[in-house]
Amino acid sequence: MEKLLLAIPNRCTGCNRCTYACSAVKEGMFIPSKARIKINNFAYEGYSVQSVCFQCPNADCMKACPEDAIIKNERGVIAININKCTRCGECVSACQYGMMEQYDSGVPYKCDLCGGSPACVGECNFGALVFKEADKVSRKLRSQQMKQRQTDGRPDQKRHKLAVVILKEAVRVPRTANYMG
């Protein structure tokens, strides 16, 4: 069954371990700027918002690719076929969540859910990242987060603008022992 990577900003503490782990697995070094998950930190407000690839059901990056080099695979992952890619960058502009980025060479990269065992989720000690079956609740959370979109700017600018919206809409209340975010 298809599983979704879900981010729960109310639980995120801004430790950024997910981005360290992601880059370690994908790039062989600790380089959060190349991580496939990003954290937008709002230290003053005491809040951090994760940016994750939603593996969109009807992905803009896939539609934008003139070479059909982006596919949705069996697991529901939007995957890039590097052999077909011409490094045109259309997918990067098309992604409205800022989750498709390019190396200096122009080769694009994005989250592939680590083949079904996301390294980021494994490092989250606060339950702010979960990887679970696509059920009613998780689909709803995802579709809520997907509603906000940004078409202008670099990927990092898009992510920041979207995160600001989430920060503003966040309902944060003093917690009781049973508070679950």
Partner: protein, 1054 residues
Amino acid sequence: MIDLEEYHPDDYKLRDIKAAKKEVDEIVDIITMPTEKISLETRKEISKKTVRNFRDHINKGFLEYRKSVTEATGFAVTEWTGKGSILVDALDRQFLDLLGGFGLYSYGIRHPKIIAAVKSQLDRSPQYSQEMLDPLRAQLAKVLALLTPGKIQYGFFANSGTEAVDGAMKLAKLYTGKKGFISTLKAFHGKSLGALSLMGKHVFRKPLLPLLDGIRQAPFGDLKAMEQELISARAVGDDIAAVVLEPIQGEAGAIVPPDDYLPGVRELCDRYGVLMIADEVQTGFGRTGELFGVDHWNVKPDIMCFGKALGGGVVPMSAFMSTPEIWKCMEPNPFIHTTTTGGNPLACASALAAISVLLEEDLAGQAKKKGEYVLGKLGELQERYPGILANKRGLGLLLGMEFHTDGIGYKVASGLFSRGVITAGTLTNAKNIRFEPALTVPWEILDESLNRIEDVFKSIELPKGKPDEYLYTGQMLHVDLSKNEIQSKTISKKLREQYIGGWGLATKYLYDAVDPKVDPLSEENAVVIMTGPVCGTLVPTSSRTCLVSKSPKTNTIFESNIGGSFGPELKFAGYDGIMITGKAKNLVYLRIENSSVTLEDAGKLVGKGIFETEEWLKNEIHAEAKTLAIGPAGENLIDFACIGSESYRQMGRGGAGALFGSKNLKAVVCRGTGGVQVNEIGSFYEKVVEHTYGNLLTDDNMWAKTHGTPLLVDVTNEMGIHPTKNFTKGVSAGRQNLNADAIDDVKIGDRSCASCPMGCGKFTSVNGTQVEGPEYETLCLGGSNCEIDDLETIMKFNRLCDDYGLDTMSTGNIIGLAMDITESELHDYGIKFGDTKQFLALIEEIATQSSERGKDLALGAQKLAAKHNAEDKAAHSKNLEMPAYDPRGNYGMALGFATSERGACHLRSFTLFEEEPFKVKEMSRAVMDNQNLNAVKFSMGLCDFWGTVDTGIMADFLTKGLGKTISAKDLDKAGERIWNLNKLFNLKAGFTSSDDTISPKLLKKTLENGPLEGRKFDTKAFEQMKTLLYKLRGWDEHGTPTKEKLSELNLLDA
């Protein structure tokens, strides 16, 4: 693109016999048709249909993991035919075979001699009657008996390797009458329930537990560990039947054991009376350059298992064999282990022909030569592409390439696939890729494959970094504000070894650059900011960043460190540290964006609070830029001004903010997009996981996650050392308003520093006032110490101090003193204990010097008290205001405050939880050990709240990260060296042993309430402790390190 969801009208619905007949006829027609007559169209159909059939009838999962699907374009790569080392798929696409079917194709694909023998046997008799005696099986057993080492003579034949292992286990149990087995970690012996029990990997084993009882796994290659398992098994009554091992671990990545390992295991088996089973399923029949793996070490096992290549790559075949002595146990009832199809005539014909090829063509010899050649070539590749190929290993043609991560490995495997080279390596398991071609592989194909491997390596994009810099970036930014000059210089490797990083390296840089007698606020003083070697990695709590300089508060050398994310950002920008000298003409800020480093005018930020400054800089540079900034207090050179970062984090103690102010430096802002490299990311990551779960996230440290520092409010109150009413009392009446429960009630979120999985920061909100904190020290010194027990007021106090840039600890301590002075009628500062309004008003007055009393309080506790002849009211050491642990209740804390390099600091030695708080000997020793350990910890950049970390763990991180051995002892020594260098600075600055004390108030006055009420501070005991501490440190009675000590620490030239 391969459409996995493609629908076909013939797809399976439900039981349908007619459809079955149609399907079967179609495929049989194809099978029997001459290959050349099968049209391309038909073969395309077969390819598509195979994907659908895998999806509907085999296992969808394979489609997601196999490169044949994930990496193919148009049509999935579908098995069709092949010859030698070339595979051809259904669409006539050719592939070089480096996988060799995991060792199945030792003789190449379809070796003519083997095919011919099997075809002839097929025409004669393909199976047995199950009654008559079969000649081929018996003959094969004889041939194998002649080939195998030692007394191996009898054999049993089966179909797959795992059956052979299961059979061998049964034989060992029967013969010895014992139940247990010892195998090795990362071992792979097969996946049937018996063999699976031996498995050395949790992935395949754990979901199927419980398996066979009495199985143990020892690390492969470790004789001592093997013996230990034998000893413990015996001790607890788990009788061991046999040790089972692969002579060279295959699945684990072609791991060759040390030369003494197999002979050693043989000897252990003899000594402990257990059998030795060699699983030669993958290593047998020439694969490793000898006939069998054990032959490399002339070891004679009791039982051997064969499979894979035994069947000649044509018919499945496996066997286990043993000696006449052992085999005897199966003679009374030969039916105790049988099989219908094992050792059938086709398989035996195949195996016999294969052995003939093996000997005729000297496949073992070929494997040896080719293996050495390939290993040499891989070595060259490793040198050329160290960022990709981490290691290469193996014997003969059982070779393994190890990549730094699964991600890189998969990039290689998929890159090879698209270049027509078949290797192992799936999405989730690609870190180790085996290189296991046919032993007959032509040299041209080997060369071509190696070329294509290099071609793939070339195409892989790795983030750029200096190739030989691990953990450290190796660069120090030198910023001369007077000359407006910025340079990046290499940090010598010798210095890194001796001083680690962080506190240590910063101390060394300062020591070499600054005269200890210098005025701290003069142009001649320097400020060194330094990260630790593991900063910017997944090592938990590793983001602490140190500042070292001469303190305007204490006139000593001092270190102040901060969490958050500034340190990692600096590393990602490419620098381990920053050394700031001189003084700018106007207020400036230092702007670091990777290699672009400039000094910018900060005119617009004059007088601005830290919050606004940080926001402005973020807008100017990048939303994720990180800053170190000062507020008005720093600009006004208040000597307890702090440097703030991410709003609520501070380098608080010692006046770091005034130092920035004295240099006309408003802020350092940094944005970095580079990375931190480690020598070997896989094993480094493993160490991180091991120590994070094994040591950090354990009960001892969990308080930080659950409660954070407010937990200490109740703890210190219980102990009677909770500073209350300007250090006159040890127990506070209003504690329930400020303890961990109170904080928890108003908490709206947890906050972490970069890399920390604990998140001790509690973000609170009361009536619209929000702050990360307050932390324990603020709750006490800005709370009970001023007799304030309203949480909201303390949160406001916290925010105001953070924004104006004042250390909450010193500020709370000093305001408490001003209240005391006022109530004692020595002078009227218009503020009494508990006056929340004046309490909050004072912060701005101090920071901006906007009132007379603000100016007075800015003097600090010692000078303020002196001004009013109230020396007996000030709580400090070396002029640094006392933190929130009354030393009268714990002599170790007192000694720690007195002998810290920066006055009353609780972060050098924290003996609060020692069992005997007043014992001289124990406390002196504890203080020294703590001081040395913390010198290492803060040099590594780790957080104080990783309370259980030791130099062994820290050495582990450095060893794995740097790729060279660093021992705990090296670090212990470095810690002592760092502490001594700090001491030397202070001695040269003019401090003597008489300065190593705490203020008179604490020595002479007694506490007025709580468990320690009326208890006199034992000054004699205190002096004894000090003397003992000096002695333990190898210092003379004046606290000066002896020549011998300095020589021991390589500090003579200092």
